[in-house]
C-alpha cells in the first residue's frame, strides 16, 4: 500500500495512510494540512489507533476542527476542517 494524497474537489482533499504505523499518519497529516488552504476539508483515513490521539492533539493546538469521525473494524475516517 502507498500513502495517497489527492484533491477530490473544490477545497476537498483525501489522505489515506492505512497500513502505516506511528509516526507516518501524524507526520503526513501535518504536511497535508500545511498544503491546504484555510477552510479546506481533509478526509483522513488511517488504521493506527495511537496516531489518532496525536492527530487530535495537533488539531486542538492549531485550531483545526474534526467535524466528523467514522470508526470501526480498526479503521478511522476523520473529516478535518483546516482553521
Amino acid at each position: 500500500m502507498a500513502v495517497t494524497f489527492n484533491q477530490t474537489g473544490d477545497g476537498k482533499w483525501t489522505l489515506d495512510v492505512c497500513g502505516y504505523a506511528c509516526p507516518h499518519p501524524q507526520m503526513y497529516t501535518k504536511k497535508a494540512l500545511e498544503k491546504m488552504a484555510g477552510g479546506d476539508q481533509l478526509t483522513l483515513v488511517f488504521d493506527n489507533p495511537s496516531s489518532g490521539e496525536s492527530i487530535m492533539a495537533m488539531c486542538d493546538a492549531d485550531g483545526h476542527e474534526i467535524v466528523d469521525r467514522i470508526e470501526g473494524g480498526g479503521s478511522f475516517t476523520w473529516t478535518i476542517r483546516k482553521a
Partner: protein, 482 residues
C-alpha cells in the same frame, strides 16, 4: 453488530461482536489461570506477573500509551501528549512506590550511572522512531493486530541475545582496561568473562561504577523515612513538575493562550493552562495515572509473594518444582518483580537459539543471573504476553482490532529499528521502562540520564526519518514531501 461496521463514536452499541471476543479472551485467561494454579500453587508467582501484564495492556491500549511518542511526537509534530502522560505515570508510580518501600516490600535496586546509559539510550531512542513504538508500545500494538510490531518484538529478542553473547571480532573493540578489570573479578571459568564484548563491558566496566539511590549518594540521610522522602521528591516529583512546566511553556502555552484569547496571562491562568495540558488527552492522562498506580502495586505484590513463598527469586521455586533446566548457575532466573520488558525478550531469543544448538549460558547475562527458562515458565515473559493479551481485549472491546501486515519498508524498519532497540537497551541496561520508569520512581537518578539519551537519539531519528520520507516522495515525484 460486527466489529467492522463503521459508525460515529458513541453510537456503537455497548455490546458488539468485539465485546464477546474480548470477554472470551478474558474468560480463557481466567480458566487457564485456574488450571495452572491447580497444577501447582507455586505457579501463582507466574500468574501474578501475567495478570499485572493484562492490566498494563488494558491501560496502555486505552491511553494509546507509548513512551516512544513522548519524545518522537514532541519533535516530529510538536505534540506533548505522551510526554505529559509519561510524567503523570512517573509521579503516581513514585508516590505508590514510596509507600511500598516504607512498608518494606520493595525489591527495586538502583542501576549504575555511566556513559553507557546515555549511549545505549540514544541508540534505543533512534531505533524507536523507525519501529513506531518503544518496547512496551510494540507489545501493546501487537495486541491490536499490528504484525509489524510483532516483528519489532522478534528483532529486539534476537538482537539482545546476540549482543550479550557475541564475541569473535567484537572482542577487538574491547578496551584493554575492561579485559583486565573483568579478569580481576574472578568469575567462574565457564562464564569466560574475558571473552565476549558484553561480558567484558559488564564485568570490566559497569561493575566498577556506582549504583545508588540519591539518598545513598548523599551519604545516607538518617532514617529510612527521610531517605524515601528525599528519593521521591528530588528524583521523581520535582523533576516531573519541572518537565511539565517546560512542556507547558514551550509546547502548550502558545496555542492555549491564543485559543483562550489571553494576551497577558496571570499565574492562575498559567496554572489553569498546565491543568488543561495534563487533561487535554483524557484517555492518556487516565492511563498514565492508572499505570503509575498499577506499577507501584506490582512492586508490593511481588514483595508480598516473596514473603509468602519465602524466596528471594523465582528460580528457587522453579528448582523446588523440579524445573532445573533454565536456571542460571546460581539457581536464579530473571525476576525483577515489577514492570520490565527487555531482558525477558532476550531470554526468548536465547531459548530459540539454544534449541538450534548454540550454547547461550557461557556468559554473564544468561549464565550468572538470568538463566534461559522455557517461555512457558518465564514469569516476566508471561507478563509481556499478558500485555499483548490485555491490549487485544481492549482493542476488541473498542472495535479497534485489525490485522495489519507491514509493507516491505515497514518490515525493514521494524527489523532494523528493533535490532537497534535491542542493542541500545542492553548497553543501557534496560529500556524506557526498566532503565527509566522503574529507576526514577525509586530514587535512582540514572533514569534521567536514560531519558536524556533517549530524547537525543529520538531527535536524531526524527531528522533522519523526515529526510527519508522526503527522499522517497522526491523519487516518486509526488506531493507528500515532508
Amino acid at each position: 453488530m460486527s466489529t467492522t461496521t463503521a459508525v460515529r463514536p458513541g453510537t456503537a452499541p455497548a455490546w458488539h461482536a468485539g465485546s464477546t471476543k474480548a470477554l472470551g479472551l478474558f474468560g480463557a485467561g481466567v480458566l487457564l489461570s485456574i488450571w495452572v494454579a491447580a497444577t501447582d500453587v507455586r505457579l501463582a508467582y507466574i500468574l501474578v506477573y501475567a495478570w499485572f501484564g493484562v492490566g498494563y495492556g488494558l491501560l496502555l491500549q486505552y491511553g494509546r500509551f507509548c513512551m516512544a511518542a513522548a519524545v518522537r511526537d514532541l519533535f516530529a509534530v510538536r505534540v506533548p501528549r505522551m510526554a505529559v502522560g509519561m510524567m503523570i505515570a512517573v509521579g503516581l508510580f513514585a508516590l505508590v512506590s514510596a509507600i511500598v518501600t516504607l512498608a518494606g516490600f520493595s525489591g527495586v535496586h538502583p542501576s549504575p550511572i555511566g556513559w553507557h546509559v546515555l549511549i545505549g539510550a540514544a541508540i534505543f531512542g533512534f531505533g524507536i522512531v523507525f519501529t513506531g513504538g518503544c518496547a512496551t508500545g510494540s507489545l501493546y500494538k501487537a495486541g491490536e493486530g499490528n504484525v509489524g510490531a510483532m516483528l519489532v518484538v522478534v528483532a529486539i529478542s534476537f538482537s539482545q541475545a546476540v549482543v550479550v553473547s557475541a564475541g569473535g571480532w567484537l572482542d577487538r573493540l574491547v578496551p584493554a582496561s575492561w579485559t583486565a578489570s573483568a579478569e580481576a573479578k574472578d568469575m567462574p571459568a565457564e562464564l569466560s568473562v574475558t571473552q565476549g564484548w558484553f561480558d567484558q563491558f559488564i564485568a570490566g566496566y559497569v561493575w566498577d561504577l556506582q549504583a545508588a539511590t540519591l539518598a545513598e549518594r548523599l551519604g545516607g540521610t538518617g532514617s529510612a523515612t527521610t531517605a524515601v522522602l528525599v528519593n521521591t521528591l528530588a528524583v521523581a516529583i520535582v523533576p516531573v513538575l519541572v518537565i511539565l512546566g517546560l512542556l507547558y511553556w514551550v509546547y502548550f502555552r502558545p496555542g492555549y493562550m491564543r485559543r483562550a484569547k489571553i494576551a497577558a496571562p496571570t499565574l492562575g491562568q498559567h496554572l489553569a493552562g498546565v491543568w488543561a495540558m495534563c487533561t487535554a488527552s483524557r484517555n492518556t492522562a487516565l492511563a498514565g495515572a492508572g499505570l503509575g498506580v498499577l506499577a507501584g502495586a506490582h512492586v508490593w505484590a511481588t514483595g508480598a509473594m516473596r514473603a509468602h513463598f519465602e524466596v528471594d527469586n523465582f528460580g528457587e521455586l522453579l528448582a523446588a518444582m523440579n524445573h532445573q533446566a533454565g536456571l542460571s548457575m546460581q539457581d536464579t532466573v530473571f525476576d525483577p518483580g515489577y514492570w520490565y520488558i527487555t531482558t525477558q525478550e532476550a531470554q526468548w531469543g536465547a531459548w530459540v537459539i539454544e534449541r538450534l544448538g548454540v550454547p547461550m549460558r557461557d556468559n554473564l547475562f544468561f549464565g550468572l543471573d538470568n538463566g534461559v527458562p522455557s517461555p512457558l515458565l518465564n514469569a516476566p515473559g508471561l507478563m509481556s504476553i499478558g500485555i499483548i493479551a490485555g491490549a487485544a481485549m481492549m482493542a476488541l472491546a473498542r472495535r479497534e482490532f485489525k490485522w495489519k501486515l507491514p509493507n516491505m519498508e515497514a518490515a525493514l524498519f521494524a527489523i532494523i529499528g528493533g535490532t537497534l532497540m535491542g542493542i541500545g537497551a542492553r548497553i543501557a541496561m534496560g529500556c524506557n521502562i526498566g532503565a527509566f520508569f522503574a529507576t526514577v520512581t525509586n530514587g535512582d537518578p540514572s533514569g534521567w540520564v536514560f531519558l536524556l539519551g533517549m530524547a537525543l537519539g529520538a531527535f536524531a531519528g526524527v531528522k533522519v526519518f523526515a529526510w527519508w520520507v522526503d527522499w522517497q516522495a522526491a523519487r516518486r515525484g509526488d506531493d507528500l514531501a515532508l
